[in-house]
């Protein structure tokens, strides 16, 4: 065991007794198993093929302490106001350094059949539902950082929609984090369970300041015919390491959209796992990667087609400037009896500087014979002819670059379901191109 992983285990031991759910033996056991799995596997290294493009070296050399600190009020307010002005987050749950902040939150009025609360509160009121699903969508051994989250998360969001319920207003879940001076680790956690025919749209955002390790896990369980769209805005601090697992189980005829924008952090890795378990299940994955300076962003997806006529559609676009690197590893596996699978995957990168780079790895493992699978990947620069065309009409070089970059990014931004989120992302992309050398949203 390397030193920082040892530190992490020490922090976990110190924390364990104070974490929520002590009254739930099943949860206690899950936390135990998870920390054991983490101890056994340790922090993933780049020797591990699935983590090859994730730059997590700082996790090995730095002692990130559990985040319990506070965040300056004006900083919190500035972030939240930014979202509110963008029209995101009229109904919201805010977590500051992993702890629920009721005074900053604005929850919808309670509706029968819709449970929207914290994990800590749900442990008391919906214990069996919580323990039935928490940690059920991924293997701790294969996802050591997610296992660490399971062991150490202090709280999180719990959403349960009974059959045919609809979350009336899109919910914004804001994870605000701050490391005052010393490196701090935060483990945001979401559990979303939608029973048959239920529907919801959520926006999950990450922002903060200082040297952070934000290690998030979102688990999604969709019953037959349920529909969920999750939009993720990763805008963590310029000094942050962001790791994230979004793990979904999708039932018959259900559809799960995961739309993720990786903008912030010094280095980030997001993994999306979609298990298409029921016939006619579908998933749409959208990935927008914006990199500058020396940022690294890794997006890894695994889509398992396990039933008939399942459908997956992935579109990833990366805009990379400075010395940044992007990576997209898209694995699609089609089980032998998952006939009539339709799986499409495309990844395009726009390299704005000669020092930026993109690694794309499609992996198709197809055991069924009646399937339609496609993938495509391209890396390129801004089209010189198009740039000249715009400039020849009087549009200044910087603006021409911005227009073309935006047009490039739009194809994936347009897949984010909420108008306000698309507008917000446009602003972010424009801002990043205009200030070509700045990274991170608060910086």
């Amino acid at each position: 065991m390397t030193a920082p992983a040892g530190d992490l285990l020490q922090h976990q031991r110190a924390l364990a007794a104070g974490l929520y759910g002590t009254g739930l033996p099943a949860l206690q056991e899950l936390r135990q198993q998870s920390i054991a799995a983490f101890a056994a596997h340790g922090l993933p290294t780049q020797r591990n093929e699935e983590w090859r493009y994730a730059n997590l070296s700082v996790l090995r050399t730095t002692n990130f302490k559990p985040g319990a600190g506070t965040m300056l009020a004006h900083e919190r307010e500035r972030i939240l106001l930014g979202y509110l002005l963008a029209g995101i987050g009229d109904e919201r749950m805010v977590f500051v350094n992993g702890a629920f902040a009721p005074q900053l939150s604005s929850l919808p009025a309670p509706v029968a059949g819709c449970t929207l609360t914290t994990l800590a509160a749900a442990a008391a009121t919906h214990g069996s539902l919580l323990t039935a699903h928490l940690g059920s969508t991924f293997s701790a051994a294969r996802h050591p950082l997610a296992a660490l989250n399971t062991a150490m998360h202090a709280d999180g969001l719990f959403l349960h929609l009974a059959a045919q319920q609809t979350l009336a207003t899109p919910l914004h879940v804001a994870c605000l984090s701050s490391a005052d001076e010393s490196p701090t680790a935060i483990h945001p956690r979401l559990l979303l369970v939608l029973e048959a025919g239920a529907r919801a749209t959520l926006t999950l955002s990450f922002q903060g300041s200082g040297p952070l390790h934000v290690n998030a896990v979102t688990e999604i369980v969709l019953g037959p015919g349920a529909v969920l769209d999750l939009q993720v805005l990763q805008e963590d601090s310029a000094a942050a390491v962001h790791t994230e697992l979004i793990s979904t189980r999708i039932g018959a005829g259900a559809r799960c959209g995961v739309h993720i924008a990786a903008l912030g952090g010094a280095s980030s890795r997001a993994e999306i796992v979609a298990l298409l378990e029921g016939d006619d299940a579908a998933t749409e994955i959208s990935g927008l990667i914006i990199g500058g300076q020396t940022q690294t962003h890794d997006l890894t997806t695994l889509v398992r087609h396990q039933a008939l006529r399942t459908n997956s559609h992935q579109v990833v676009k990366a805009v990379l400037d400075g010395h940044s690197t992007g990576a997209y590893s898209g694995r699609v596996s089609v089980a032998v009896d998952a006939q009539k699978t339709d799986a499409a995957q495309s990844c395009r990168a726009l390299l704005l500087s000669a020092d930026a780079s993109m690694n794309t790895r499609p992996q198709l493992e197809i055991d069924a014979d009646d399937v339609k699978c496609s993938h495509g990947a391209t890396n390129g620069q801004l089209d010189a002819e198009a740039l000249f065309y715009l400039r020849s009409r009087g549009i200044a070089l910087a603006e021409a670059r911005m227009l073309l970059t935006r047009a490039f990014a739009d194809e994936v931004i347009d897949r984010f379901p909420l108008d306000c989120v698309r507008t917000h992302l446009h602003g972010r992309v424009d801002g990043r191109i205009a200030r070509r050398d700045t990274v991170g949203v608060l910086a």
Binding site: I395, L397, A407, F408
Partner: protein, 252 residues
């Protein structure tokens, strides 16, 4: 208005394409440039508009006395230079209307005029599109994406009509147009003609010159202006091709 003097240009580090071109276009004049394929017509147009792939190795170009070659393409555009592309560029993801509004507002800003908001612009654009007999649906499509050859050329003239340049250089805008479209394009150019504006028409066909009557016709061959004359030159070229000029010019 435009003075070209002893202009030499090449593709960066490549062979020379323009081998000493001089041309003077006065205010309000229309000049036609004809010449065989590969003679350097588009290169000349590109050099005037500021195409970076060409390198000027000798000579000068001034617009109203100011050194044009020192300016970026966008600076030339806001000073009133417009290039109608021989091969208009497709730009997916940017609508024609948005593109043109951005362009027009850039030009207006540079002229110290107020910018037009989306509504004001739309009114103007619709009026110009009507002039060009263009269906308004083209305005909301991505720039030139999926446009037919003729539609792209019409779109070039629409842009010209909106931007109202002082020097329009139209590189084979008539190529690929049917008779009706040719008339529309010619009407668009003629509508722009004024004592203050000049036009350079690059064309292979004398029929365009029936609709837009030029003041002068020049023949470019092998990177040099080998002949200049009045309208009758176009008719001679149409009848005899370029062979007789090469003989006359003695390979000049």
């Amino acid at each position: 208005m435009l003075e070209i003097n002893g202009l030499h240009a090449r593709v960066a580090q490549g062979a020379e394409i323009l081998k000493g071109i001089s041309l003077s276009v006065g205010k309000g004049e229309v000049h036609a440039i004809m010449g065989p394929n590969g003679s350097g017509k588009s290169t000349l147009a590109g050099v005037l508009a500021g195409r970076e792939r060409f390198e000027v190795t000798a000579g000068s170009v001034t617009l109203d006395g100011a050194d044009l070659l020192a300016l970026t393409p966008e600076e030339r555009a806001v000073r009133g230079v417009f290039l109608g592309f021989q091969y208009p560029v497709e730009i997916p993801g940017i609508t024609n209307a948005y593109f043109l509004r951005t362009a027009l507002n850039s030009v207006r800003r540079a002229r110290g005029q107020s910018e037009l908001d989306a509504m004001e612009f739309l009114v103007l654009l619709k009026q110009k599109a009507k002039l060009m007999e263009m269906d308004p649906s083209f305005l909301n499509r991505s720039v030139n994406e999926g446009f037919s050859g003729g539609e792209k050329k019409r779109n070039e003239i629409l842009q010209m009509a909106v931007l109202e340049p002082r020097l329009a250089i139209l590189d084979e805008t008539d190529s690929g147009l049917d008779i009706d479209a040719l008339k529309v394009v010619a009407a668009g150019v003629n509508a722009l003609r004024s004592p203050e504006r000049s036009v350079i028409l690059v064309t292979h066909y004398q029929r365009l010159l029936d609709h837009i009557v030029p003041d002068r016709i020049h023949v470019l061959a092998g990177g040099r202006m080998v002949k200049s004359g009045g309208r009758e030159l176009a008719l001679e070229l149409e009848a005899q091709g370029y062979g007789w000029i090469d003989a006359h010019a003695g390979g000049a």
